[in-house]
Point group: C2
Chain length 147, copies 2
């Protein structure tokens, strides 16, 4: 990274306040991985799905930036370290059965995808009208995380 | 399902307009599965992460409701068929490398989680301030899907 890059995009993250009892409840699969759904805290878009092992989850919590495990390259990677498209973490959420994470981030730079789009999910396989609810959703459904 | 349940929550879904060339680009893993991130089209919450095989993706596209493959029970399941907490599909999106889906839905009933919460992601492993962008996000970041 050049000095220019470092000064414009190189702000450090802030370590997260962590519930260690919940860290212990993350269930990694037989490859030692858990899928991490990265969501834009501002706009709500699902940006990418990547994978964390125990060490990359630890690094994420301790640095406040997203660390993943690359299955293809078999190495750790910190999002945006070379591209500048960094992700600063606001929340790490665990699901009911402990085998998936949501990571809410402030996405910096041009977006999350290496193809140059904001989200990696830019291709529409199918679309339809859905079926809007006839009644209001519960109050708990409000907000980007629906909690 | 009782007759009462059927009349109040049993509306059929609408088949999706489907891009078959993109269906062919879905890369299922060595178990024949792809992770599907189910997102609330209204509020933007990530509701759950489940898994689809080729047949459950096909059923989802053809029925307009979410069909998954249960890894624990080794069977198909259609979300809400017994609980009434149905998911009516608006969009199925594929990511850049073809190995993850986002499914935007109208969530009916009390929510997506069997524990009674709106989202399955109701436990906070870590939280922090993130780092809000110093500049506006690209226009492409607007909207729940950020496209």
């Amino acid at each position: 990274m050049s000095a220019t890059d470092a000064s414009s995009t190189g702000a450090p993250g802030t370590p997260l306040t962590t519930d260690e009892s919940l860290v212990d409840q993350v269930r990694f699969d037989d490859r030692g991985l858990v899928p991490a759904v990265v969501q834009d805290a501002a706009g709500g878009a699902v940006l990418t799905v990547a994978y964390m092992n125990a060490e990359s989850l630890r690094r994420t919590l301790e640095t406040g930036r997203t660390w993943f495990w690359s299955r293809s390259r078999q190495e750790f990677w910190c999002k945006g370290e070379t591209s500048g498209d960094r992700q600063y973490v606001r929340e790490v959420l665990l699901d009911c059965d402990g085998d998936a994470l949501v990571v809410l981030v402030d996405q910096h730079g041009g977006g999350a995808c290496h193809t140059g789009t904001w989200s990696c999910f830019s291709r529409t396989v199918g679309s339809g009208p859905g079926l809007p609810r006839p009644d209001p959703a519960p109050e708990s459904a409000a907000g980007p995380t629906g909690r």
